[in-house]
């Protein structure tokens, strides 16, 4: 017993030693910049070029700014809108393509095109579709709502366009991931359920859904992170306008750091973005409930 403990300790020690280089890389490349970034959110550079500690002043500025509070709210709307719609569409598409239907391969290949298209390219495509004078989508909308209606000139329809664009890009990824989960479910389970007299809905409710729960949590987490951090798609599509009506926190971060070169306020915005991401991550991880899902 004593010998086995000692062997186990030695193995643990060796494992720890082997992990050290990776740990050092993690600290050097991830934690250190993260700490620097967070520290930067508590500093300001004066006109003399000197950087000084200002406590939570930048957070206070942001908290008192109606524009930023609206940015946070819009980020939540953007995430909920995109993830909600693309998840339902993606799950539905996954159920379809995992069935033995004709031309499933072609459908699968076609559907992933939006996902592999770079976001700026797809945003420019969308932009040309909703161009008020020559965009085909604009012509359709103007037929119903009058010739003066501009999709990107209205706060609500501009935000809807941003969400639709993101859904168009996200749902193929969700579909692929969920389809992989569905394909891994043993057929015997469905056969037994069929023998027991379960209909399609009950098979979905008691077999497919529980056994793809982990895939759902992972895919929701990934797409949520993408959406929260999406600045390029929104910027290329609306630049945050009209007014600030489509400006999300990630776009604000991009604007402050790369367009305004206001690195300290950008760091503060980044910290808020990190917190929002943390909240969503915690929510999704609680979906899995810390339990190991056996497939």
């Amino acid at each position: 017993m004593r010998g086995s403990l000692s062997f186990s300790s030695q193995r643990n020690f060796a494992a720890t030693l082997l992990l050290l280089p990776a740990l050092a890389l993690l600290i050097g490349l991830l934690l250190y910049p993260l700490v620097l970034g967070i520290r930067s959110a508590f500093e300001m550079t004066g006109a003399d070029g000197a950087t000084k500690f200002v406590g939570g002043r930048l957070f206070s500025v942001l908290a008192h700014e109606p524009r930023f509070l609206a940015d946070v709210l819009r980020s939540v709307v953007y995430v909920v809108g995109n993830v909600g719609i693309s998840f339902v569409l993606g799950y539905g598409a996954a159920l379809v393509i995992t069935r033995p239907v004709r031309a499933a391969g072609i459908v699968r290949a076609t559907i992933i095109i939006p996902w592999i298209t770079p976001p700026v390219v797809s945003a420019v495509l969308f932009r040309s579709m909703v161009d008020p004078s020559k965009g085909p989508a604009s012509h359709v909308v103007q037929y119903f709502l009058g010739s003066g209606f501009m999709i990107l000139g209205n706060a609500q329809s501009a935000m809807a366009t941003v969400i639709v664009h993101s859904v168009w890009r996200s749902f193929p990824f969700i579909m692929l991931m969920i389809a992989a989960g569905i394909a891994a479910i043993p057929n015997e389970l469905y056969e037994s359920a069929a023998v027991e007299g379960c209909g399609a809905f009950r098979r979905f409710r008691y077999i497919t859904l529980p056994l793809t729960k982990l895939h759902c949590a992972i895919v929701l987490l990934i797409v949520t992170m993408w959406t929260i951090q999406d600045a390029e798609g929104v910027y290329a599509l609306t630049s945050g306008g009209p007014g600030y009506s489509t400006e999300v926190v990630a776009l604000r971060l991009f604007r402050e750091s790369f367009l305004n070169f206001d690195l300290h306020i950008a760091a503060a915005v980044g910290v808020v973005l990190l917190l929002i991401s943390g909240v969503f991550a915690a929510l999704y991880l609680s979906l899995v409930g810390g339990k190991r899902v056996e497939l």
């Binding site: 500025v61 008020p132 630049s239 306008g241 009209p242 600030y244 790369f258």
Partner: protein
């Protein structure tokens, strides 16, 4: 034997694979290293023209290639490498790289960023490097762009042209509407009256009387809002207090003028508040959908020549004439017109500052600038006296340039421009109250920057 040979082949295969992987990895590593190598000993010239974006940008790239070829012929020992950044990010890029210790040599910079560059210290004082005579300096120092780059005797940028704006109009449309193209509007009332006459809303053939850009880019403040605000007696920013003051009575009047153009008189399309400067003004004008464009830049003269709407005016010749399109000075009061230019600056951590300054000196010589499309107009005052700039077309441009002024020297100009553009969009597209919306934007700016 056969079996042994098979085993040998099977065993050899992984080895070959290992070798191929090693070769690929080493190749990739070397490519990365070579890619990161900053052009060896070359002078790095950073410009803003993306050859894939628009024909005008391609023309500027071709000009750069042409003049650099001449420079290389004169200095065969000098190597020059080109860097390209987005026009609205190059200044921030120079600052970020300065902090990171990544050097550039010569770069295009924007006058609106000069106050921030002075604070940051990322650009060199080029006056001792250029060592120009007082006369040569005076040839440039008349320009509003030069003034933004000069502080306490230090000069951190030299203009390579003059960007001013005028109203460009279609002579044929004027005649069709019973207006005299040789006597264009001179006041705001007159331009409005002309715009009403020029607007045609016919099925499949809409022509808008006047296009004014009011979108989400900083062109909104520079081309539309600020000239009108100055015209009505207001200011954007107070240098002594560091406070934004654009939400004044004059600011509200300026915003209402723009609103009325779109919604009351319906002479300007509302989509001028949604797209980009090029999409909303340049393209519709060239496609015949606008009779007048407010904010036509001097960098677009070449396009008119290519279109055949002016002849012999780019590059300028003494016999140049307008044919289909013409220009007139924006009908605001004197000094209520935005004028700037691209500057050329030497990065503070340049490894070859003197060589960079020599190249700068070469690039701003009259014989180089004469066919630089983005120069727009001559940066050197002496060039204006040449016969080719004595046509009525260029006399109008000169008058516009002389009536011009630069944007305020706030280190937070981008935030100011961004806040105003957003407020104007809200007023024009969402019917937001002009006074309240401008005040909110002003308060947001002041809360962040006025007390710093």
């Amino acid at each position: 034997m056969f079996a042994l040979g098979t085993v040998a082949r099977v065993k050899a295969r992984p080895r070959r694979r290992t070798w191929s992987w090693a070769v690929i990895l080493v190749g990739a590593f070397l490519s990365v290293i070579m890619g990161c190598r900053p052009g060896g000993n070359a002078i790095k010239l950073a410009h803003i023209y993306d050859p894939l974006s628009a024909p005008s940008a391609r023309a500027n790239c071709e000009w750069i290639e042409r003049v650099l070829q001449r420079y290389r012929e004169m200095h065969p020992d000098v190597e020059i490498s080109i860097e390209q950044f987005k026009w609205d990010q190059i200044d921030a890029k120079l600052m970020t790289d300065y902090r990171a210790g990544a050097s550039h040599d010569l770069a295009w910079t924007s006058p609106q960023w000069m106050a921030k560059h002075f604070d940051e210290g990322d650009l060199l004082d080029v006056s001792p490097l250029l060592n120009w005579s007082a006369q040569e300096t005076a040839d440039f120092s008349w320009s509003p762009a030069w003034k933004t780059a000069e502080r306490e005797g230090k000069v951190i940028g030299v203009p390579n042209g003059v960007h001013t704006r005028v109203v460009c109009f279609r002579r044929d449309y004027f005649e069709e509407a019973g207006l005299d193209p040789d006597n264009p509007p001179q006041t705001l009332d007159e331009i409005l009256e002309a715009a009403v006459k020029l607007t045609r809303q016919e099925e499949g053939e809409d022509v808008w009387g006047l296009g004014v850009y009011c979108g989400r880019e900083r062109g909104t403040i520079e081309l539309a809002f600020a000239p009108l605000l100055w015209h009505y007696g207001g200011e954007l920013w107070d240098e002594t207090t560091g406070r934004a003051i654009f939400a004044s009575e004059a600011g509200v009047k300026a915003a209402r003028f723009l609103y009325d153009l779109m919604h009351k008189h319906k002479v300007c399309p509302t989509w001028c508040a949604t797209g980009t400067y090029d999409d909303d003004l340049l393209e519709p004008f060239l496609n015949g959908r606008m009779a007048m464009v407010w904010g036509w830049g001097s960098y677009w003269i070449e396009i008119l020549e290519q279109k055949g709407w002016i002849q012999g005016l780019f590059p300028p010749t003494p016999d140049g004439k307008t044919v289909v399109a013409d220009v007139f000075v924006t009908p605001t009061i004197p000094q209520a017109q935005f004028t700037n230019a691209w500057l050329m600056s030497v990065h503070a951590i340049s490894k070859r500052p003197q060589d960079a300054a020599n190249l700068l000196d070469f690039l701003v010589q009259p014989e180089q600038l004469i066919d630089f499309p983005d120069a727009g107009l001559p940066a050197r005052r002496s060039m204006w006296d040449r016969p080719e700039y004595q046509t009525q077309f260029y006399r109008r441009w000169r008058r516009a340039a002389e009536r011009g002024r630069s944007m305020p020297a706030t280190p937070h100009y981008n935030e100011l421009a961004d806040g105003i553009a957003a407020a104007i969009q809200e007023i024009l597209l969402q019917d937001a109250d002009a006074a309240k919306t401008l005040k909110r934007a002003e308060d947001e700016y002041n809360a962040r920057f006025a007390q710093l």
